[in-house]
Symmetry: C2
Subunit: 254 residues, 2 copies
């Protein structure tokens, strides 16, 4: 007869982790995810091998595998046979594909525009809408970036982007004609793992018309994006304005 109450399920050895009744592979997955979130490993770093994790947490290969493959499917890790398991990085060859599901014109070709920086500055304050989207409770400095995408000499879209400055101090001095997410990863160790987009059609106002070289009132596609890293932390909010005749948005639904 036992008087002590024990957790129903065995727990993996994890510091600071309360006893859990969840499956072991989920406990390990969350533990690894937490380490990634804390920045203990940086993009491109190698994780411990399967066998090492088996020993460290006293688990079977199958259980460890289940945890790792879940993170691979989430896009946080990549594996290569014979080499190891690594923290995923923004893949320059996938380039604009992952978070830029665009096609220019009707061709299915690559969208590899030239990027022109229109304006960069650090704002001491921002309006309520931006603060809300960035999920900043207190007013904080914000980096504002405005860029124009030009393909074959024709403006295709432009965007206004806001990033919490405390996450990217000094970013205004970096080369911003590259993908912003690449720079944020390479220089600040920030990893965009998810984004949400809201699309609508609007009429071009004077500024949009000027930048996109179209007439006022012409239809423009507006994409509002919020980009997240681990634990739902917001890294960026952005509004993109696209010329409807040069800019298509392609999506696969499953």
């Amino acid at each position: 007869m036992t008087t002590e109450s024990f957790p129903v399920r065995r727990n993996i050895a994890a510091l600071k982790t309360p006893l859990s009744d969840r499956p072991l592979y989920q406990q390990l997955r969350d533990r690894l995810k937490a380490e990634l979130a804390d920045g203990n490993w940086k993009p491109g770093d190698a994780l411990p091998t399967e066998r090492e994790l088996c020993q460290r947490f006293d688990l079977s290969p199958g259980t460890v595998r289940q945890a790792i493959l879940a993170l691979v499917r989430e896009g946080l890790l990549t594996r290569r046979a014979g080499k190891g398991t690594f923290v995923a990085r923004m893949d320059p060859s996938r380039g604009f594909e992952r978070f830029f599901p665009f096609r220019s014109g009707t061709s299915d070709g690559q969208f590899t525009p030239d990027i022109e920086v229109l304006d960069v500055h650090v704002m001491a304050e921002a309006d309520e809408e931006v603060l809300t989207k960035l999920d900043l409770r207190r007013p904080d400095s914000i980096l504002s970036v405005r860029r124009l995408m030009v393909q074959h000499g024709t403006p295709v879209c432009w965007h206004q982007s806001y990033i919490p400055y405390s996450l990217v101090p000094g970013m205004e001095k970096e080369d911003l004609t590259q993908q912003l997410y690449r720079t944020m990863e390479a220089k600040f160790g920030l990893h965009v793992i998810q984004a949400e987009e809201l699309l609508q059609a609007v009429e071009a106002d004077a500024e949009m018309a000027r930048l996109l070289q179209i007439s006022e009132g012409a239809p423009v596609i507006l994409i509002e994006r919020v980009a997240y890293t681990f634990r739902g932390q917001v890294l960026e909010c952005r509004k993109t304005y696209g010329r409807s005749d040069k800019f298509l948005y392609k999506i696969q639904l499953r």
Copy 2:
């Protein structure tokens, strides 16, 4: 010394299947997928249990599991502990969510519009664009459906849909105020498993303006969709026109 040449890898017992050098779990996955494609099981039907599949193909539980879970992730199967593995069906509760990533207005609520059938007819011929999209080599009869979505008395969007009539004979007599994909599944055993959408912003012409109760030239979001079933077979192509002030398109990128 062997003079015969053997396949490098063992093969599962599958009729009509050429010898393969692919992993066993992939062979089983493809075999099950082929049976689904051939309509041997219909949406809602139970598959053989894991243990049955182990016996039938002389495989280990882990290998069978790997094949089944891949199909679950593709959305073709669902599993319930204690019950079994089933062919996935269009989930009415997910309703418009899966293939209709819309939000009406700025609210994040459900999009559950009333559907008004504007026009249904069977066409003996169709123009080149539709034939190409439906991937019909030879001219074939095509079902044309035009419907209007109304929410709270306000028209939100309307669409023009084309379906190869040979796949849905008699569908024009069905109740078309429901989700088309539900009807196609329930009455014709057709299962939409994937769709591709292309979005752009356009100006409303006279017809769009009339149907959506907006002024000519107002911005309208145009969504061109092609819907597929197994093996890349096209089930439908559709153009949806949405009122930009009542109709948002929301996407998660990962």
